[in-house]
Amino acid sequence: MISITKIASKSLLRKRLRSILTLLGIAISSWVLISLLGFNQGYERSLDDDIDNLGFQVLLTAKGCPYEAATLMLQGGAGLRYMPDTVIDSLRSMPEVQNLTPMLMQAVFDPMVGENGTVVAYSGVDPATFPKMKSYLQFEKGTWFSDPTATEAVIGYEAAELEQREVGDLILVPEKNVELTIVGILKRSGTQDDGTIFVPYLALQSIFEVQGKLTSVGIQVGKDVDVTAFEDKLYELPDVQVVSMAQVKSTISNLVGTARVMVMSIALIAILIAMVGVVNTILMSVFERYQEIGIMKSMGATAGHIFRLIWTETVVLCLIGGLLGAAMAYGLAAVTESLIRYLLPYSPKGSLVYIDGMLMLKSIGIIIGIGVVSGLYPAWRAARIKPIEAIKKSEGEL
């Protein structure tokens, strides 16, 4: 019939515009909060996925070998170090190894690309084991190599698009004067693979005259293997370097960590601003209703009743704002996502902003918590109003 909650919600309709603006403030800050929390959660997940997509948990490289394409580009292949392909046999004999795939990176300067030429990298892979490990790779056109020694290439989506390459086209390996026939073009995967030219590693060995040599081996370890202990064991092999993906992940996480602290501070500031807005709005409406509150007290409202009334107003405002913000965060997740992707130095390919029911509930909980706290002061002020003062004040004014 009539309740404090009803009075509270209706009183929010008194100054509609003011309530709406306050609501918007809360909605926007909740949107920011939820998106950022979603990002925190999503980033971690897609980083995990990304690393799973590498297909192997441990990468064995020759000591001093650059394992990132970027480093390879910068050094123009000059810094390449090799290990003998006999290492594969040693690895196969280890019980921890479930699967492995040998790889050979090669890079050569192509004067024809770009303004001043650039280093083009070739990734030599084993057609028997590599596709199995990278099961997420899908073909736009064509398929894997016809033969482990074929002078053929499978290229990433971007490598194809930028040069308008099609299956059946050729790639001339500069200096070596060898033509590779494109047999497959991969679908866009959002990873480094998009720009990669894959060649059978045996073919690449003979083109670059590095027979019997590898630059790295990707290793999939068994389920129950202690990776750290296994890493130590691998170091017993001569002249190798072990890169575990857990390590890579923590490096990237650290890198992004700083950025995350920054965005979380922004969220905090947004929330503080919204909070000040809420306190201001409610306090203003308390002062405007001084007499009304006095009269309520004269008709039996206790300080507790008035406190609850004003506090409910705050919480209702925050609840609606929080829900609105949550809806915005959910609906605009794609927008937030591309924004973050644009800003981050490294972003995994999965969805960066992961918002689920649990997170929504938690966030709305936080917003309401904020409402509860912001409501305390105005509610306390209102509860202290003495009926006699409120009445005298207005009668005197008349």
Partner: protein, 224 residues
């Protein structure tokens, strides 16, 4: 039966170094079913006295009993929490300005006291008072859509909906023209006559005062 009993009630205000004796040694006893009118010049202490009688304000001295409970004695007042209960149980207040809540409908405004009570309103109560105040067709309206007289009638309805023993009215017609004033006077008269409500009315309006059974006049805080 005596519902309000005041002995040597004083109210002093401090204004700078000056002491103002707004109410000065007032002895007053109000019986249940009484209709008392308080008149007097402006500043004579009518409102101050009414607020004390209605337990809205504490006296500076004297002794006050309401419904056989000690509200003020030996310079000590009843605790605020108990006072609040007493106020909502015994009194209904009507003021010169109506203090309706603009965002609530007439019906909700009338039932407002129940928002602060554990007890639920009698489902018929609203219709009874609405009929009594001639507001049956206004229940779903907002206060802004009413005339001044109607607004005061809503305020009266709100004051009586909880079935208080005593109705305190401070210049209830101060904001109304003479026709509406007469209407309100009629209502108060009927509340006393037909429903047995005790009424304490502060007014400047001699016509209104004459409807009362008893009239006291204040001058400088004293009954003359």
């Amino acid at each position: 039966m005596t519902i309000i009993s005041a002995e040597a009630i004083r109210k002093t205000y401090q204004r700078g170094t000056e002491q103002i004796h707004a109410v000065d040694s007032v002895d007053l006893s109000i019986e249940q079913g009484d209709f008392l009118s308080i008149v007097g010049a402006s500043g004579s202490g009518k409102t101050s006295l009414l607020h004390i009688l209605g337990c809205l304000d504490n006296p500076s001295g004297g002794r006050l009993q309401v419904d056989n409970q000690e509200v003020f004695a030996n310079s000590k007042a009843m605790p605020e929490k108990k006072l609040t209960g007493l106020r909502s149980r015994i009194f209904g207040y009507i003021f010169q300005s109506f203090y309706l809540i603009p965002t609530l409908t007439v019906k909700e405004n009338i039932l407002l006291p129940y928002a602060f009570k554990t007890q639920k309103p009698d489902p018929d109560a609203i219709h009874t008072v609405a009929k009594q105040m001639g507001l049956e067709h206004r229940l779903s309206h907002l206060p802004g859509e009413l005339s001044g007289g109607e607004m005061q009638r809503v305020a009266i309805a709100r004051a009586i909906v909880t079935d208080p023993k005593v109705i305190l009215a401070d210049e209830p017609t101060g904001n109304l023209d003479s026709r509406r004033s007469a209407e309100i006077a009629e209502i108060l008269y009927s509340l006393n006559q037909d429903y047995g409500k005790t009424i304490v009315l502060v007014t400047h309006n001699p016509e209104l005062a004459t409807r009362a059974r008893r009239v006291i006049e204040l001058k400088d805080g004293k009954i003359v």
